[in-house]
């Protein structure tokens, strides 16, 4: 942070803003402890630089990882300002109190403004012993704070990756191999070059195998504007070699996954003896669940600018991992990484997509060949057809039940291509890390439990999308519990609570941190908190209330990113049409640093979850994605949006994260509500009614 003699404060935020409100939230923490006047605070976006530590903005961890240290930073500044004032007045620092951009001396009533103390404070040693505020002294933390960028956004001034404009800039689009692993065999560019405005055609080398986060290769068309580049691309004639994924078919791949979960996989967690429990069971129930490939489809497709000079390079890009973008671009343009600057623009949505800088690598290739700054833009079709997809999955859960319908044994087999396969050869089944996203972390108090990872080789680029493997694991587990409740003739919510069992801490980790890299002594996995969000969501939703004919309520809860969320959905089915009327969402994220943004993230995650529950499906045939735009890969529209009520559980626990954990319970809550309304089980996403 910087404090200027004018009194202006700049707070440098080294996380990417993609709508989660990180620029507002992190800055407010510093400003609060610093006793800065919020109206004097300006937020500055950090470029990609290891000096800021790991800048990857993912895993719902910006607030969780930085809350404490940002408080300490703010407090340190406050202490130095108090000391500077004490020195000026010749009084003990203990008599000086910083308050709202001034330091006050109680006994004499003197005050000094922060700006007037800036230079003297800056010369002081950094104090070691600092006292953080007590929570009742918070000014901004825990209060609803307006987004610092709202004015720029509502006036069109906010600069996204697609918005950078430089003198002499040219515009590029790329024709990519339609199949991952494919390459250009030959191409003819004369027609493209005849399109008015087209300047150059540049071939980009094919990606290695596995492709990693680099670009897919292909042919770039460079023009005076984006539209001319797109017209030029249409005129390219390219002979593609498709490679080994050219026969990938998602429908037959589903069948292969179904076979994979029919046989034992790699055991990732085992307690008790499932097989013995199964042999003793009064009844055995099993079901299989399917979730298709999903695309991120952020409203801003991948787009960036690369400007290459003789011995330096500047990038403007909407990236979640600016250091990775910088390093990968440096390699392409042949400069040491220190000579490359990666400015982080606003991200027009990201959801995990913009962690991968393949589009920046493409622009770097083009910039190397073209002596001008290059703006490279993906069309929507490019985005939908060349994503890092959420994994297609099949899961099979089997329960051994006793006479009363309670679970004595639990077997969960999960099969989906791994994210790791995108950058590591030979990975043919989900990794432990992916199973910890909702599969082995199942919160149920069951004596005999086994989780297995089953074979699923990858045929495309798999990536992480908002809440990652929790999406399919929560769907399967959330739906299966509802099935068991029905078999037992029990209320789904009561049955779910009974399955979770008495309050306890679940500890599956030998090391100090849990699945989300959080210190488990600070963030224990506490089933009491999961139970609580279930109770809150159910209570607020009026669980058990009378409903109109054809309506149903469904409930699901999930722990992810050390946050606890439960959803209750009310749906109706009439003439085969499913409508979601209302969703209640309860979240326990510890202390809600910016409660309005927590609310917004839960609203948004609910909409995101409804999009994948009701619409999301990417299919592949001959290795090619069959969808291309919002007509065939629809996302939720305003008319489909239910009333969404968010209930934040009051908590003094350390803050967790809220970007992702609101997604996983949505689909199973809706699926369970469909059952309540119709008696028909949903086991496939997206939900399609008979």
């Amino acid at each position: 942070m910087h404090l200027y003699p004018s009194g202006d404060v700049e707070i440098v935020v080294a996380r990417s803003e993609m709508g989660q409100g990180v620029r507002t939230g992190l800055s407010a923490v510093v400003a609060d402890e610093m006793e800065a006047d919020w109206s004097r605070v300006r937020v500055v976006q950090a470029p990609g630089d290891p000096a800021f530590g790991n800048q990857d903005t993912d895993g719902s961890r910006s607030v969780r990882n930085h809350f404490q240290r940002l408080r300490e930073a703010g407090t340190t500044a406050r202490r130095m300002l108090e000391q500077a004032a004490a020195d000026e007045w010749g009084v003990p620092v203990s008599e000086c109190v910083a308050r709202e951009h001034e330091v006050h001396h109680g006994a004499t009533g003197q005050t000094l403004a922060y700006g007037d103390l800036a230079e003297a404070a800056g010369r002081l040693p950094v104090p070691e012993d600092i006292d953080l505020k007590s929570p009742d002294e918070f000014r901004y933390i825990g209060r609803p704070m307006a987004g610092v960028d709202n004015l720029d956004i509502t006036t069109g001034r906010a600069g996204f990756g697609i918005d950078t404009r430089l003198t002499g800039m040219v515009y590029a689009v790329v024709a990519r191999p339609p199949v991952v692993g494919g390459r250009v065999r030959s191409y003819e560019s004369s027609s493209a070059l005849n399109v008015p405005g087209v300047l150059r055609v540049v071939e980009i080398p094919a990606a290695p195998s596995p492709p990693g986060f680099t670009c897919l290769g292909g042919v770039a068309v460079v023009a005076e504007n984006t539209w001319a580049a797109m017209q030029g691309r249409k005129a390219l004639e390219i002979d593609w070699e498709y490679g080994p994924n050219g026969s990938h078919d998602s429908a037959s791949y589903r069948v292969a996954l179904e076979r994979a979960v029919g046989v034992p996989g790699r055991v990732a967690r085992s307690e008790g003896d499932f097989d013995a429990a199964r042999a003793r069971a009064a009844r055995v129930h099993s079901s299989e669940y399917f979730v298709p490939y999903l695309a991120h489809a952020p409203m801003e497709p991948p787009a960036c600018v690369v400007s290459l000079q003789e011995d330096s390079c500047e990038i403007w890009a909407p990236v979640q991992s600016p250091q990775r973008a910088r390093e990968m671009a440096a390699e392409i343009v042949g400069l040491p990484v220190e000579k490359v600057t990666c400015h982080v623009t606003f991200l027009g949505g990201a959801f995990g997509r913009k962690s991968k800088p393949d589009f920046v690598v493409e622009a770097a290739y083009v910039a190397r060949e073209v002596k001008a700054p290059v703006q490279l833009t993906w069309s929507r079709e490019d985005d939908v057809r060349h994503d890092f997809y959420h994994a297609i999955s099949v899961q099979r859960i089997e329960a051994a039940l006793d006479d009363s319908g309670l679970v004595t044994g639990w077997l969960h087999r999960t099969a989906f291509p791994s994210i790791s396969a995108t950058f590591q050869a030979g990975v043919v089944q989900p990794t432990d890390g992916e199973l910890e996203l909702g599969c082995v972390t199942v919160p149920f108090d069951v004596p005999n439990l086994r989780c297995e990872a089953c074979e699923a080789p990858s045929h495309t680029r798999i990536g992480w999308i908002r809440s990652v493997s929790n999406i399919h694991h929560s769907f399967a587990i959330g739906c299966f519990v509802d099935e068991l409740a029905a078999l037992a003739g029990r209320d789904p919510k009561e049955y779910l609570l009974e399955l979770i069992g008495p309050p306890r801490v679940i500890d599956l980790w030998e090391e100090e941190s849990n699945a989300y890299g959080a210190d488990k002594s600070v963030y224990p996995y506490d089933t009491q908190r999961l139970r609580r969000v279930i109770e809150v969501a159910a209570g607020e939703a009026g669980w058990g209330r009378g409903l109109p004919q054809g309506h149903g309520l469904g409930i699901a809860a999930h722990y992810s990113f050390v946050t606890y969320v439960a959803h209750v959905a009310e749906v109706s089915v009439a003439d085969g049409a499913l409508r979601v009327h209302r969703v209640d969402c309860a979240v326990d994220c510890g202390l809600a640093v910016n409660p309005d943004r927590v609310r917004a993230q839960m609203e948004g995650a609910t909409v995101f979850g409804l999009s994948l529950a009701l619409h999301g499906e990417i299919t592949m045939r001959d290795g090619r994605v069959e969808q291309g735009n919002f007509n065939d890969y629809p996302i939720l529209r305003i008319r489909e949006v239910p009333e969404i009520r968010v209930h934040i559980v009051e908590s003094d626990e350390p803050p967790t994260g809220v970007g992702e954990p609101g997604v996983p319970p949505v689909a199973p809550a809706v699926a369970n509500a469909v059952y309540a309304a119709t008696g028909d089980r949903v086991r496939d996403l997206p939900i399609r009614l008979g």
Binding site: D152, A158, P298, G604
Partner: protein, 162 residues
């Protein structure tokens, strides 16, 4: 190439581009007004919405020849200082998340309020049906349009209007 002449945010502009070039790319790449966004290129998402003679138009498919001689208003020209009731309501209710679609949402809503100063919830949903938001700010978009309409009505009453 023929010269296309039209007005953008009250200023007369002439550009040498092909007739069929979409207004979106003229505004963004030729005139440098980047508040209008590219989202789909197929009038499916509404991110590129501007006002042409007061009507909400999807600029990603509208050829530049279609606005020849007409008045185009982009988000940059909706108000001089972001004080349009919709912009204000958007801030008051903290509507934006990533913000990318919001210019299109606001411009689309501006056309709605111009023709229906007191829209019903159904009219709001109908009007904004083809403006997509992946962040899911829809509940707040609804509320902000209602708020802006209310503010406008109150202002009109204060001026002795209906």
């Amino acid at each position: 190439m023929p010269k296309q002449t039209f007005s953008v945010n009250g200023e007369r502009r002439s550009v040498d581009v092909p007739d069929e070039m979409p207004v979106l790319w003229v505004v963004r790449d030729v005139l440098g007004l980047t508040g209008t966004k590219f989202g789909c290129g197929a009038e499916l998402c509404g991110a590129c919405t501007v006002l042409v003679e007061g009507e909400a138009i999807r600029t990603c498919v509208a050829p530049i020849s279609s606005v020849s001689g007409k008045d185009v208003v982009t988000i940059e020209g909706l108000s001089p200082d972001g004080s349009h009731p919709l912009q204000q309501a958007w801030r008051d209710l903290n509507v934006p998340q990533c913000g990318y679609c919001q210019a299109g949402q606001i411009m689309n809503a501006a056309a709605l309020l111009a023709r229906s100063p007191s829209p019903t919830d159904a009219q709001i949903d109908q009007a904004q049906q083809d403006n997509l938001c992946r962040c899911g700010t829809y509940p707040r978009i609804r509320a902000a349009i209602r708020l802006a309409a209310e503010v406008e009505r109150t202002a009109a009453r204060a001026k002795g209007g209906p």
